[in-house]
Symmetry: C2
């Protein structure tokens, strides 16, 4: 960064360059975009030692500054991590190009043929924590979807992110694409984020990835649309017609496979008719796995080890070995409970009953709704998107895991032969 | 309106009721929604004289207050207008129900089947000027798309809007749907708008319809997404390979069929190789139709009656018998000019050249891009959407004419058989 520029001017320049690059990217050929991704991967592999050295400096400084262990872990890049990054870029190159796709072309009675063409959003701003791999992933998804990107990673990862940025530029240049199509902010000044989210003339959408605090702050300040989720308070509902074996297997996976992910179950609902027969077994499994149970009075009566749940518990995403539990009358109460307490991320019903499965699917107002499957599947890779830029719990534009398509829009196109309106 | 309530409390109550009603509307059957639309139409016909009387009072007051003629014209409802309103409701009943549509269900290697289900956005706030027919149209589109709506019409139409609102409630009640699914704000206090656009807990999206000033103010104040267009600065580009007869016909229709609509052409670009042969004829036609031409120096050299265009002219949506005109070198300059000066509404190229047609289609960054057709076709009815709630020149969520689909989102759904994530 040119240190004699003030931060506002620096960000304006970045924005202008991104807007100009976005025009080039919008018309870039699939071949050029894929060539850039492959060249980036090659350059990242070639400069592996440089990346690791930059990362080692980042990690040393972060450790000296007392960064907590979990964050240090995410910051640290290994040789395997560099290879995974390169493979990620290559994998995005194999995904179909969404841009230019023409659909729904239909003749109208007037003689014109009307349909839609998929187009990029324009410029995407991505704000994330100190995870160097996100720099490569996000750059790849924005590039493939024909967007320009401005990336702002956690300050702890600044050296490594700049090294990755150099490889990204090399790849873009090798493919004849503008190097400014992906810009990584070079300053750790927090004011840069404030500018990034408030330049509607240069930035079309912001994707924040990280803790709830960061995302809430960004959403509040943003003058452009934000693709985001705040919480993953996911529910497993065991219906009166649940298959007991499936219930056990799904609950175990949804709650205990990984405790800290946004698609991990945080709340268990059990239909009253099967509470007596299933709650003790299900909760014994959780207890054996070290999960603390916080339940309603009925749960506590059936499960001696359960503590009492407060109202607040039902709203909570623990990201820890804790689960809230409630006995509900039926699928109606389950749906009402979820629509009130859930963060609209992912919910699943375990049932063999067709009508209740269909009602749950239709009436639960969350971004992913499942029948007889683990909430842990709510993920761009698992859904077949190839990769994801994030997950949205909003309804405007994208909902659920957001892949390449979520970074695009559709314009209307008309083929005519001299037609005019009557 | 309960006059002892302050406006903030009144709007909060409206919002709460709308949010509650939106849950019912999201699961309402197609039959119930259609029944409500037909009952509304019947009630509007039955109460025609009442509506006309209420409108007459509105018109008398507006005239006494000196409302300008064009606005008085839009405010005035005739017996024919009432019938058109009823038919509009019936026509929305015939449109396919977008809600619950399941698409793209594909099996994944894990055994789960993943796809998407179309869902309503939730609560839609619509702010419009004194055009009573919008009350019925907007209510119908929100209802059919499973949303709840809060409508705020121009203060001059308050009596007529309340009369229409009564018919809407009658229709909802007749179909067993909550009457609060469509609420028309009962106060003319402008503060109501400020509250409506800043209640993200109750309102999911705002659709403002009206003048640019209104829409700019709302977009600035809004704390929720806004579906909007500010301007329709639409371009007709006459390419070097244009068919002269199509060029004349399309330009005439695009500019002169109606002067005051957002899809009317406001700017004419002519490729230099055909400027000498076509500019005089095209401009003579415009002049004969009473259209003032403001051109670049080259235009002026070819078209004696042309005045000089300023830089500002090329940015201007005249909504009047004026057109800006510029001679450009080729399709590259035309695309660059449009992407700089256009409001991203609608542009058309007149050409017989395949490659340039395809380039224009792909590279022009507007919500509707046409080949050899009049810009006047950019309209929800003409595109086959059945009806439109508005036109969006943004890229996030909806782009171009917005019909029922633009008032919906898609959630992910997963069918499993006990699958868990490895």
């Amino acid at each position: 960064m040119n240190t004699h520029l003030d931060i506002a001017t620096y960000m304006q320049n970045l924005g202008q360059a991104a807007r100009a690059a976005s025009r080039q990217m919008a018309k870039a050929s699939t071949a050029a975009k894929n060539a850039a991704l492959l060249a980036m991967a090659a350059d990242i592999r070639a400069r592996r030692d440089e990346l690791l050295a930059a990362n080692a400096e980042d990690v040393a400084e972060a450790r000296a500054n007392g960064l907590e262990a979990a964050m240090l872990d995410r910051l640290t890049l290994t040789a395997k991590g560099v290879e995974a990054m390169a493979q990620g870029l290559e994998q995005v190159a194999t995904l179909p190009d969404p841009i230019g796709e023409i659909t729904d072309m239909k003749f109208r009675p007037t003689g014109i043929q009307v349909g839609r063409m998929r187009v990029p959003l324009g410029v995407v701003g991505i704000i994330y924590e100190a995870r160097p791999n996100v720099t490569a992933d996000a750059a790849a998804l924005c590039l493939k979807s024909g967007n320009a990107a401005i990336l702002r990673g956690g300050k702890e990862a600044i050296r490594c992110n700049q090294a990755i940025a150099a490889s990204v530029r090399t790849g873009l240049a090798a493919a004849g694409l503008p190097e400014t199509a992906v810009q990584v902010i070079e300053t750790t000044d927090r004011a840069a984020v404030g500018h990034l989210v408030a330049m509607p003339e240069y930035v079309d959408v912001i994707v924040p990835r990280g803790g709830k605090g960061l995302i809430e702050r960004i959403s509040k300040e943003a003058k452009v649309p934000v693709i985001k989720h705040l919480d993953g308070n996911c529910h497993v509902y065991i219906d009166a017609s649940a298959d007991a074996a499936k219930a056990l297997k799904i609950l175990e996976n949804a709650k205990t496979q990984r405790l800290g992910t946004c698609n991990t179950a945080e709340s268990l609902l059990i239909a009253r008719p099967v509470a007596v027969s299933l709650a003790p077994t299900l909760c014994a499994m959780l207890t054996a796995k070290g999960v603390e149970i916080r339940g309603c009075a009925e749960t506590q009566a059936l499960v001696p080890q359960a503590k009492a749940a407060t109202e607040e518990d039902y709203y909570t995403e623990y990201l820890a070995a804790i689960i809230s539990c409630k006995v509900v009358a039926d699928v109606d109460e389950a749906i009402a409970h979820i629509n009130q307490y859930s963060s609209a991320h992912t919910e699943t019903i375990v049932t063999e009953d067709y009508t209740r499965a269909m009602r749950f699917l239709r009436e639960v107002d969350s971004s992913s709704v499942m029948v007889n499957a683990s909430t842990r599947f709510a993920d761009g890779f698992e859904y077949g998107l190839g990769a994801e830029i994030g997950i949205s719990t909003d309804k405007f534009h994208a909902r659920g895991p957001v892949g390449l398509e979520g970074l695009t829009s559709q314009k209307w196109i008309v083929f005519g032969n001299g037609e005019v309106r009557a």
